[in-house]
Symmetry: C2
Subunit: 304 residues, 2 copies
């Protein structure tokens, strides 16, 4: 593994925020009649940095995934594992990482041939799971998640060299306008907000609960939002949200009784395997950022 990779997206290196241009493509594959996304959908994704496909999964599938998520949340043996993130205060389980390893149901889901085909197409490479998790944003007391680019963290803290990764979020509950839905800044994925501050050691232990480093400054964020606005994909359970690794996103709190939950997979190009973290700090644990478990997912061989 090359450990001397140029840092094209420097962040958390000093006191001055900057907005840099993205030097990597957004869509690596070639649209065409064999592509798993239409030319129109591909262009939308390229331009906006995300694509929302309502009701991608059947209600039967979603019932099974929801049941699995609830079973995992009730599993006492998971409660004190490092890959299980609990709410401050209540101790309720909010996220479980490496869920594609822990759960055969979600292990199968991330190998869904349709998902893998989309990932391989957009990244034009074999792919592996950089990170997976189930997220549960409870009702009544669901906390906000401040604006961030996932790539900023994956680059600085995990050593992901280039923007050649994407996330797929499968919604397990309805995204309403009121229950703290994900907000996305369209077009923000084409610029990189270099953040201020330095990464403290073991930052991940607190950042999974509340991010304090690697968040954009107000002026940069205002610039991105003035240019792109804010989109709020809304829809029933079973929707599929694809989003680029560098698109700016976040969510307000949720005081409604309606929880918001999803399963989340990060597909990374095999050519974009992580190197030494650009922060210079020790890497985060394997359950947050795969360094060893990088066998490519082959949808074809596993398709039922």
């Amino acid at each position: 593994m090359s450990e001397r990779v140029e840092d094209l997206y420097p962040s958390r290196l000093g006191g001055t925020p900057r907005i840099l241009d993205r030097v990597d493509p957004v869509v690596y594959g070639k649209p065409g009649s064999n592509a798993p996304l239409s030319a129109e959908d591909t262009a939308f994704y390229e331009r906006n940095g995300y694509l929302f496909i309502p009701e991608f999964f059947s209600s039967k599938d979603i019932a099974a995934y929801s049941a699995e998520m609830q079973a995992l949340r009730r599993d006492r043996s998971l409660a004190d594992k490092p890959w299980t993130i609990t709410e401050r205060g209540s101790g309720d389980i909010r996220s479980i990482f490496r869920v594609h390893d822990i759960s055969p149901v979600f292990g199968q889901l991330c190998r869904d041939p349709r998902l893998v085909a989309i990932a391989e197409y957009l990244l034009d490479d074999q792919v592996y799971i950089h990170q997976s998790r189930v997220n549960y944003k409870p009702g009544f007391r669901g906390r906000e998640f401040y604006w961030h680019s996932d790539f900023e963290t994956w680059h600085v803290e995990d050593g992901m060299p280039r923007m050649r990764a994407l996330s797929m979020s499968i919604t397990l509950s309805e995204n309403l306008e009121t229950n703290g839905p994900l907000m996305i800044v369209p077009g923000s994925h084409k610029r990189f907000v270099s953040c201020v501050g330095r990464t403290p050691r073991d930052h991940y232990k607190s950042s999974l609960i509340k991010q304090e480093y690697g968040i954009p400054d107000d002026d940069s964020l205002m610039t991105l939002i003035n240019d792109g606005g804010i989109d709020v994909p809304k829809g029933p359970p079973g929707s599929l949200l694809l989003f680029d690794c560098n698109v700016m996103h976040g969510s307000n709190s949720n005081i409604t009784p309606f929880p918001r939950s999803n399963v989340f997979f990060v597909f990374n190009s095999l050519k974009n395997r992580v190197v030494r973290p650009f922060s210079g700090m020790p890497p985060r644990p394997e359950f947050i950022a795969a360094r060893q478990s990088i066998a490519p997912i082959d949808a074809r061989s596993l398709a039922a």
Copy 2:
């Protein structure tokens, strides 16, 4: 002043939440051709507990009100007054109470003949200002405000005997779906959620920043929302929101760059003057709940 008034809406008296029926009317006046609201609007207000009238004020008026609000926020002499509420952390001014006394502009606004006529009609009495304030919910770091009925607090902590008061909020910024807009539970004003816990002394000093007592339990809230849903009035600056003193409302946090601000007046019926607080605690200060300054507002004599 009668100090032995029956407590028709007991709350914070024990450990069991209850949902009680409202025993007071919502609309006290008689609809008719002389009424300042149409029969349809009156019926909407009666049924839902609120009425949203977009662009009630001209953009010229709103520019003047916004300038006044900003001038008050910049006024250093107000920063350390008890009626000025600052954000934890930043120290930024979030609310200024008794603003109709402090500011001639807002003093005139609360006497707007159209507003007073609506208040006198819905409450069928002369009215006075129980409370007034400007609210500024900042962008980026605007905090949530949990569900509550204003009346619950005004009853328990201020001694407002009956549900014969209403709020008018004049928006000074756009209410978007993303900037933590006010959420209202339609129909919730016809029931009273009796809350658990007891009121600590000087509760107002912390409750204006974060409410911990007088908030509904999860089951009661779920019942109200299952029955009524959640409405989110959205619209441009200058909209007028009327809402009943007992309607359940709240707002999520606001991580967008777009602040949300308004001027807020509580009109109370002169027949519904506050008595000794039902909590048994000393009353809150005059700037939060008028006890002495209860001269009825007479729109006619002040109309320009």
